[in-house]
């Protein structure tokens, strides 16, 4: 098991409101998990906990046999930089940088941006936007922007890819394209993919669908 969470609880505010109620979940290397549920069921919160963007109130998260609560702040940042890729509902591309410069941002932190440039361009070709790398985000369509965001998530060749409603801001055609890309990444690169979606069709594309109701796992469907 590459990612195991045990009795994961997350509370917010004072007095505390519990959003995630003792979740137990195991995710294998190369797995494709969809977290679905209604709005407010805690899907995104669970994703942020699993991706180390947020810290649980209690419970443990073990990634590659290491308890993440023992990670130093620096180690946590390095882990997110090298082992994790994020795709959000909004692309969050920096408007003053070209598509290529946006893609190379994670690599820039460790001064690897020059050696990653060719790889980045090959990803632009693979994702069928070969002539867009020098464009600014404002010069790209919504679908192209989200593809660039996915390439940015993949630039460090992460082991885990976390996608939070990646199709939520796209039309159906572009949404299908993005989902196909994510599936392809999971299949061909063996990247562990954790997807949050409220679209049942996209959730059904995963190997396992974790259905949440009020912060609790209601059902895990295997396909």
């Amino acid at each position: 098991m590459s990612l195991v969470c045990t009795d994961l609880i997350k509370e917010f505010g004072k007095p505390a409101t519990r959003i995630i109620h003792g979740i137990n979940l195991s995710i294998n290397d190369g797995d494709f998990i969809a977290i679905s549920g209604r709005s407010g069921s805690g899907k995104s919160t669970l994703l942020y906990l699993l991706s180390t963007l947020d810290q649980p109130t209690s419970g443990t998260l073990v990634i590659d046999d290491k308890d993440t609560s023992t990670f130093s702040v620096e180690a946590l940042h390095n882990f997110r930089n090298t082992e994790v890729g994020f795709v959000f509902q909004f692309h969050y591309l920096l408007p003053e940088l070209t598509a290529l410069e946006n893609v190379l941002l994670p690599a820039r932190k460790t001064h690897q941006h020059e050696e990653k440039t060719e790889y980045a361009k090959s990803l632009f070709e693979e994702f069928e936007i070969p002539d867009k790398w020098h464009k600014f985000p404002s010069q790209l369509s919504g679908g192209e922007q989200q593809r660039v965001a996915i390439i940015r998530a993949l630039i460090m060749q992460p082991k885990y890819l976390f996608a939070d409603e990646p199709t939520g801001n796209l039309d159906s055609q572009n949404a299908d394209n993005v989902m196909n890309l994510l599936k392809k990444i999971n299949r061909e690169r063996n990247t562990t993919l954790v997807l949050v979606t409220h679209e049942s069709d996209y959730a059904a594309m995963a190997r396992r669908e974790v259905f949440l109701i009020d912060g609790r796992i209601d059902e895990i469907r295997e396909s």
Partner: protein
């Protein structure tokens, strides 16, 4: 983060230019104001203060005291109501025991040199016209060890006055005003004696019109003769090893003497006060300008951070720690501070060069006096740089405290 900081600045050209102009103008104003004030100060220091010895020993005026007169004439117990109270001075002020001072100064290891002087107001006659002047009697060899007057001699030599011989060196402006030339003889009178002829053997120019119109130098013994007071001196100029100890030494000498002993700081207290006032004015104006520029940086960076929240979120989520975010915005302040300061200093320097070519009429000063002291440029740079960095710290710190989730949640 330098790469991203530059991109941020370039993407917001108008705001960047506005802040940049604020810092540049602030620094430029500082350079110009400082250049002018310090230029004038250097001039005053050079022309006036360098002609002041470290310590000046002068006679106290012996004023007639009403109580003392009453006691002397009527005894201590009498109540006297003077119809015309006694007043005025007993005699011209002069140092009572000059030889005592000479012995003391000669033996003091702290003393570099001393110069006895007799200064008096005189009337110069030429034809039917009369002109007031201030005649100083000196011993050239001794005076040269204390004062820097030799460099202001424009014609002749100070040593020509050695040994007397009824010669004088006069201010250039006086020569022009009276209509004389070197080699002419003038009649000099103290007002109490017959006029005595003095031959003009040289000229000097201190650069201050009012002084150059009345200054006259002659041998000490000639001046004593004009005043009919042989051996009398009114002042002793003293230079000591460490001029910064002048006040301390002057205070200690004054304790054991009836004469007035002043350090150069006391003697030029009015100039010192003007300098302090100038400094206060200069720094106040500069701080006011830079505070405005600083608030500009603070406001623009604060707005920028609000607009860049999404970018901060993505940077944090892909592993950029808070210190990188702090750096990102701090670097922008530093870039603006450094470039604004450099351009401001260059602009200020160019304007100062231009101002120094402007003539000031017949003041004797010539052109507007500007200072190009490195201290102006160093302090101007530091002022702009520090104010820019300080103004960036708060917004940059606020940006570094943002967590990716807070931003992402607020977007959804």
């Amino acid at each position: 983060m330098l790469f991203l900081a530059i991109r941020h600045l370039m993407s917001r050209k108008r705001q960047t230019v506005l802040i940049f102009l604020g810092i540049s103008l602030g620094t430029m104003m500082y350079t110009i104001i400082s250049g002018m004030q310090l230029g004038m100060r250097e001039f005053i220091s050079e022309r006036l203060l360098s002609n002041t010895s470290h310590i000046k020993i002068s006679a106290r005026e012996q004023k007639i005291d009403r109580a003392e007169m009453t006691e002397r004439f009527y005894g201590p117990d009498e109540a006297v109501n003077w119809i015309t109270p006694p007043s005025g001075i007993r005699e011209e002020a002069h140092i009572m025991y000059p030889q005592g001072w000479f012995d003391r100064l000669r033996d003091d290891p702290e003393v570099l040199g001393y110069s006895p002087t007799m200064t008096m107001n005189v009337i110069i006659s030429k034809g039917n016209t009369k002109h007031p002047a201030t005649l100083s009697g000196i011993v050239p060899s001794m005076h040269n060890r204390v004062m820097n007057i030799e460099k202001y001699i424009t014609n002749g030599r100070l040593s020509a006055l050695s040994g007397g011989g009824n010669k004088a060196i006069v201010g250039e402006a006086m020569l022009e005003k009276i209509g004389l030339k070197v080699g002419d003889t003038i009649l000099v009178s103290s007002g109490l004696s017959e006029p005595r002829p003095l031959k003009i053997t040289g000229t000097l120019k201190l650069g201050v019109q009012q002084i150059d119109e009345i200054i006259m130098l002659a041998a000490l013994r000639d001046v004593q003769a004009i005043n009919k007071t042989p051996g009398r001196i009114t002042e002793i100029a003293v230079n000591i090893v460490d001029m910064n100890k002048a006040q301390e030494v002057a205070d200690s000498w004054e304790l054991t003497s009836k004469d007035k002993v002043e350090s150069w700081e006391e003697a030029n207290a009015n100039f010192m006060e003007i300098f302090v006032f100038q400094d206060i004015l200069r720094w106040t104006v500069t701080f006011a300008i830079l505070i405005v520029a600083g608030f500009g940086i603070y406001n623009v960076l604060s707005i920028m951070i609000t607009q860049k929240k999404k970018e901060i979120a993505i940077l944090r989520s892909i592993g950029y720690p808070p210190k990188y975010i702090l750096e990102l915005f701090l670097i922008q302040g530093v870039i603006l501070g450094i470039t604004g300061a450099i351009i401001g200093l260059l602009g200020g320097h160019m304007i100062n060069l231009y101002l120094s070519t402007i003539k000031l009429g017949h003041s004797g000063v010539g052109n507007i006096l500007m200072s190009y002291s490195p201290s102006i440029y160093i302090s101007g740079f530091l002022l702009a740089f520090v104010s820019a960095v300080l103004a960036s710290i708060l917004p940059a710190h606020a940006a570094s405290k943002l967590t990716p989730l807070d931003i992402i949640r607020s977007e959804v």
